[in-house]
């Protein structure tokens, strides 16, 4: 029964999506119920993995390699926990955000399908099943992003859809080549069979390139800022915090599990160099952005860059506690960014709703009249910069130590520059927010909308920073080696 429950974080949001489609009148109610159950099942599964070992099941009772495997290890469980908590926050926020609007009707089923695909990607153990999941993710994400119906949003998301399809095609060709050579699609079986060869190298390039396009790795990030900045706030949060993580997770999974013995230092260096480009370019554009949501979207480009800096470090580090630390720090960075960016976008959405716009230069009064929201932006911002005690502070610390230990000092320059630029763009927002307006009367002005944003931002700083240990134990590692 425990292994059967692996399917719940996928089946529950799917059922929710079907019910909210069939019964649009009570969609918000059904949506919140489905979201709560999905989040609980995800957290329960995380608890199972934490308490014991990795879980896995082969659906259909046919065993491998005929059936499709579903599996949860520490890496899957960490991201599942992120999608559960962030997804729940987004759902609660969306009830208020879409109240009385026709768009809510379309939001719920698509959002639950998106969540199905996210959890499906995190738990999948089969390369072709991952393709179907990625397509479900891409289609529902593009449809959600276009919900505002504005011309910019529709055009940006049409481009996002096409880019996603191109990425999937590249990935699928890689899968086809792997099936040709190894005759199975299961990741665990393949990882035993794959040996260095021209075919394996070609597959890893095709699949990584396709996924890097979906993860918006510089210079393939061009589609992200308009698509994320023009979506409704809960959707922006889901896209930036969760959807790009799915593609990143898959690259990490493929590089550390499937292709572990064929990746080379040179290939990892290329990923790292692209990540460095993303950090510098994304941070610079965020600094120059005129709109709050565009700033957040460019900040996502930069943060994705940090995640890719881990690849050359992981490649160069010999197995042992130091490499475990690096791996855990990479996961911690991804999860922290998930919470922080979701909180940031949700808060930015409230500012936009309150002020009627999100131009940074004119935010003064609007932001200060909503202390809780401004506080959320500040908290999330500190996690984006990597200030202590946020989770990304620890992650960056471990990353810099890893760069020292493997003698790759040049990444330090990138990390420091990126951090300074992040501090500059966050303080640029905050300096506008604290204008000379009179002090408002109460801290929270709209509880249902402001609390989720605040809690998500707070988690990125307090939960993941002060209590980062669980990530290590979830991944089966010893504590932080400082």
């Amino acid at each position: 029964m425990t292994t059967d429950s692996l399917i719940l974080p996928i089946a529950l949001p799917l059922l929710g999506a079907l019910l909210t489609t069939a019964l649009p009148r009570i969609a918000p109610l059904l949506g919140v119920i489905a979201a709560t159950l999905t989040a609980l099942s995800g957290l329960w599964l995380t608890g199972q993995v934490w308490g014991g070992d990795a879980l896995n099941i082969v659906l259909g009772g046919w065993g491998l390699p005929l059936g499709i495997g579903v599996a949860a290890d520490g890496l899957s469980a960490s991201l599942l926990a992120m999608s559960s908590l962030v997804g729940l926050g987004i759902s609660v926020y969306a009830v208020g955000y879409f109240a009385g609007s026709d768009r809510g009707l379309h939001f719920w089923p698509l959002w639950l399908l998106l969540w199905t695909a996210l959890n499906g990607v995190f738990l999948a153990a089969d390369l072709f099943n991952l393709y179907v999941m990625l397509e479900l993710l891409g289609l529902s994400a593009a449809a959600l992003g276009a919900l505002t119906g504005s011309r910019e949003a529709v055009a940006a998301n049409l481009r996002y859809l096409l880019v996603g399809l191109l990425g999937s095609m590249s990935y699928l060709l890689g899968v086809a080549l792997i099936y040709t050579a190894y005759g199975t699609l299961d990741i665990s079986l393949l990882s035993e069979r794959i040996e260095p060869s021209a075919l394996a190298a070609t597959s890893v390039v095709l699949m990584t390139a396709g996924l890097a396009l979906k993860a918006a790795l510089f210079p393939l990030h061009f589609w992200l800022p308009p698509a994320h900045a023009n979506a409704p706030a809960p959707v922006s949060a889901a896209l930036s915090a969760l959807v790009v993580k799915a593609a990143f997770y898959l690259i990490l999974r493929l590089w550390t599990d499937l292709f572990a013995n064929i990746t080379t230092t040179g290939a990892a260096f290329i990923l790292g160099a692209l990540g460095a480009g993303a950090i510098l370019w994304g941070s610079w554009r965020a600094l120059r952005a005129e709109r709050l949501k565009l700033l957040a979207a460019y900040s996502t480009v930069a943060q994705i860059g940090y995640l890719f800096l881990f690849f050359p470090l992981l490649q160069a580090m010999p197995p042992g506690p130091a490499r475990d630390d690096l791996f855990a720090a990479c996961v911690l960075m991804a999860v922290t960014h998930g919470f922080a960016k979701a909180g940031f976008f949700l808060a930015a959405g409230l500012v936009q709703k309150n002020a009627g716009h999100d131009r940074i230069d004119e935010l003064g009064g609007a932001a200060q009249s909503m202390p809780a929201t401004t506080f959320s932006i500040a908290l999330a911002g500190s996690a984006l910069i990597g200030l202590p005690p946020s989770g990304s502070f620890i992650a960056k610390w471990v990353m810099m130590r890893g760069a020292f230990e493997t003698g790759q000092w040049w990444w330090l320059i990138v990390i420091v520059t990126g951090t300074l630029l992040a501090a500059a763009y966050i303080f640029r927002v905050l300096s506008r927010a604290f204008g000379q307006e009179p002090t408002p009367r109460c801290f929270v002005t709209d509880a249902r909308a402001e609390i989720p944003a605040l809690l998500l931002a707070l988690s990125s700083v307090a939960l993941l920073g002060l209590a980062a240990g669980p990530i290590w134990s979830l991944l089966g590692f010893e504590g932080v080696q400082t």
Partner: protein
Amino acid sequence: MNRDLSLLIGILVALLAVLLLGVFHSTLALDPGQRLASLALERLPESGVSNPVTAVLLNYRAYDTLLELAVLLAALLGIWSLGPARPGFQPAGPALAAMVDWVVPLAILTGGYLLWVGGHAPGGAFQAGALLGAAGVILRLAGNAGAGLPSEAWQRWLIVLGAGVFSLIGLLLALTGYGFLSYPPGQAKWLILLIETAATIAIGVTLAAAYVGGRPQMAQPPRSPLAPMADPEAKR
């Protein structure tokens, strides 16, 4: 686009193609043997169907098929979120109308046949659903703005029917101890037929509704200069 740039892209893509061809050729030369074929064919008698492709789609890899129904649903929901459908075409002339009158029932009948035959020969839910969808397309082309589909409330239930029946059966099997989407011995045949029937209806309605291309309208479309044709629905 700049001519030089497109030439450069062309050269790069051609190099990629040559590389891929070389890799593909050398891999085929190694001939890794059976892949999954022998295993899939060997266990075919247990799968409840005798068409191996249907066995893969609805039994060995049923999970993929369930999600594929979800992808189809996501596409239609996305289309509906973009606003109401455009007005339909002009009503068909007498010759086309007469042809539609017998093509549409024939398509539906053939769909039913393909659904049944899928158990032991090429065919199945997707082929049958595609024919149902085609019947809807023909109806819309002949002037029926709603492609012969029922009201929005009914459409909403019909489009979730496939994934709904599929996942409920899967969860019931998990609850009764067989495991998610693991059919009990001997029950596979009719469970697969049940799932396929629901999937066929859902696919047919989804494809037709996607062709209509917008949220169904309860009342007369406000901007439409043409009234939808009165009765092809009665003829279904």
